[in-house]
Subunit: 340 residues, 2 copies
């Protein structure tokens, strides 16, 4: 490895996309664990569950009946955190500052098969999910007052997912959320300065360094970013600088689906469990601007650290200071690479 | 309440101390919960546990024997994330940027009594903890190369605490962690502009508004900040602008201990459980500068939302977008105030 200090001693690494730091303590991986163990469900789920509100033909809490869908099914969240037509207001009262926020929250079922996760699905079926994401990004992004579309998935009970049916969410809103705002700024600064893509230049450096790359195909790199926070955090990014997912050709969409398939399968093998994570796609705002500085990417933030039941807690120091990790990005990449 | 829109409709609120936003969705509190339930231990703990590595006279993993301590006991963390004398280095390789980070991690036992938490301790005994924090802030802060001292506590298995013995931690380091850096900048900007304390001016506005104040004594306010992220997040802050905890008189230290006692007791009553949280004190860096812009404060970030077993998950949208809450700061303050 290029720099052995990074494998042996405490240091901080800089996240070029957010401008923030992560504390890395490689020597600490030896710490014994006497804390909480997560419960894991080893129960095999049926392909159809009559009590599941996401299965085809079942009735949801608000009385609506799901269609007899065959691949992807999308509907507006029955308990949406954002509403499209709620009143607009502004609070500017000394040091109390607030602003109304409008938006749309949707749920996207990845498959009618209750028993599956992305890791179990065929690449062709994952591609249907990718195509649905593309369509939603366009159609939601066109709506007046929607300037950003956040696609994400919470997988596993430990990640707050309340239903094991394979599904994700799409929240869209008027303003840029914090994380997107940071990445927007960092990419813009770099683009203004160098007239090239920050993430694109980084990916080239990674292709030379090799040690954090887990998988690649013609169009995509799957890697552990240098500044990864979560123990087995992974990023999938297009080699070409594309500002949003609609710029993918059909063939690129297939290769993106393949990348998702490869990494989710490796995850499941790592601790021999259906691997929990939150994943999300960061891409250009839908604010009508050119956004040439954007290079879209999908990230996976999985909490597990040592086994199917021992997760990394982002608590005390992490909440008040900075995120902290023990196992290095290079070791995590190596372990995942060996499972492919 | 001053602005009913804030109780009814989605909006974002601005955190004056970090410069970031939180998404508030008051209408969403009605959402049913079908997700993970936390385990709670109702087991009554003994005052002494022979298998506890924090109890007096017991042997720790590294073979050291704890003294027969009577109030507070402090030692260097046996598996410290930061080390004082690890080598210094700098990685500045294109878009790979890293820096060595040195520091000291200590554990502070609040009481020899294994069965207690801060909520069960007398104010006079909590004051001994406060005095110990003051001493550590001074003695660690004086060490060459230590520019920031983070005092915090992780309480409860759900917060990654691996031992129920009442204890907290003190991590100190060369550079300012992310959260501290943001607060440093925001307070400095305001101070340069107005020559007064950002938090001090805010607290005065809260004293007039009243609706977020939970408790106060001569020297301290206990309140739910306007921009609170966690469902029952609370801040304790000195009314007078003090840059760090060593500026407290003995009498103020007692009143601070009282504030801690009052809020931790209210927490335990809320869901009739030993309330989990991470708490931490943000205060001026120990970098030898004047830091006149700093106004120290202690925050509690508790995860529970609806009951002793249902927590708020900061996952998908929160990780990729912004933190999100359902119950408003005003409602949370009211519920806690009623328990005092
Ligand atoms: O030091 P502990 O209590 O073993 O560990 C706990 O607190 C640390 C500091 O917040 C975190 O980094 C760990 O993830 C958490 O499990
Ligand atoms: O929408 P769900 O799946 O009910 O809820 C889950 O995801 C949301 C978006 O990340 C979070 O705000 C919730 O805390 C979490 O439990």
């Amino acid at each position: 490895m290029e720099n052995t200090n990074l494998q042996d001693y405490s240091h901080k690494r800089y996240n070029i996309l957010t401008g923030e730091w992560v504390l890395v303590s490689p020597h600490r991986a030896k710490r014994p664990w006497q804390g909480q163990n997560e419960e894991i469900s080893t129960e095999k789920r049926p392909s159809y569950d009559e009590s599941c509100y996401l299965c085809a033909t079942n009735t949801r809490i608000n009385g609506e009946i799901n269609p007899d869908y065959k691949d992807v099914f999308i509907f507006t969240n029955d308990f949406a955190a954002l509403q499209k037509d709620s009143p607009k207001f502004n609070v500017n009262d000394g040091l109390f500052k607030a602003q109304s926020e409008n938006g749309i929250c949707k749920v996207i079922c990845f498959s009618p098969d209750h028993s599956k996760s992305l890791a179990d699905m065929e690449v062709a079926d994952i591609k249907k999910v990718v195509n649905a994401w593309q369509n939603e990004y366009v159609s939601i992004g066109e709506i007046e007052g929607i300037n950003y579309v956040q696609i994400f998935e919470n997988k596993g009970a430990v990640m707050g997912c309340s239903n094991p049916h394979p599904h994700g969410q799409i929240w869209s809103q008027t303003s840029l959320p914090n994380e997107v705002d940071k990445k927007n700024q960092q990419q813009l600064n770099y683009y203004n300065d160098k007239k090239s893509s920050l993430l694109g230049d980084y990916l080239q450096q990674e292709q030379t360094a090799k040690e954090r790359i887990i998988f690649e195909n013609d169009d995509f790199l799957v890697l552990t970013p240098f500044w990864a926070v979560w123990p087995f955090e992974v990023m999938i990014a297009p080699k070409k600088a594309q500002k949003n997912i609609t710029e993918m050709t059909e063939n690129e969409a297939s290769n993106f689906a393949e990348a998702i398939s490869v990494i989710t399968k490796a995850y499941d093998k790592l601790f021999n469990t259906s691997f929990p994570y939150s994943s999300g796609i960061h891409q250009a705002p839908t604010n009508g601007e050119e956004n040439k500085h954007w290079h879209w990417h999908m990230s996976f933030y999985p909490p597990l650290l040592r086994s199917a039941t021992v997760k990394k807690f982002m608590v005390g120091y992490e909440m008040f200071g900075s995120p902290q990790r023990d196992i290095t990005a290079e070791i995590a990449a190596k372990r995942l690479r060996e499972l492919i």
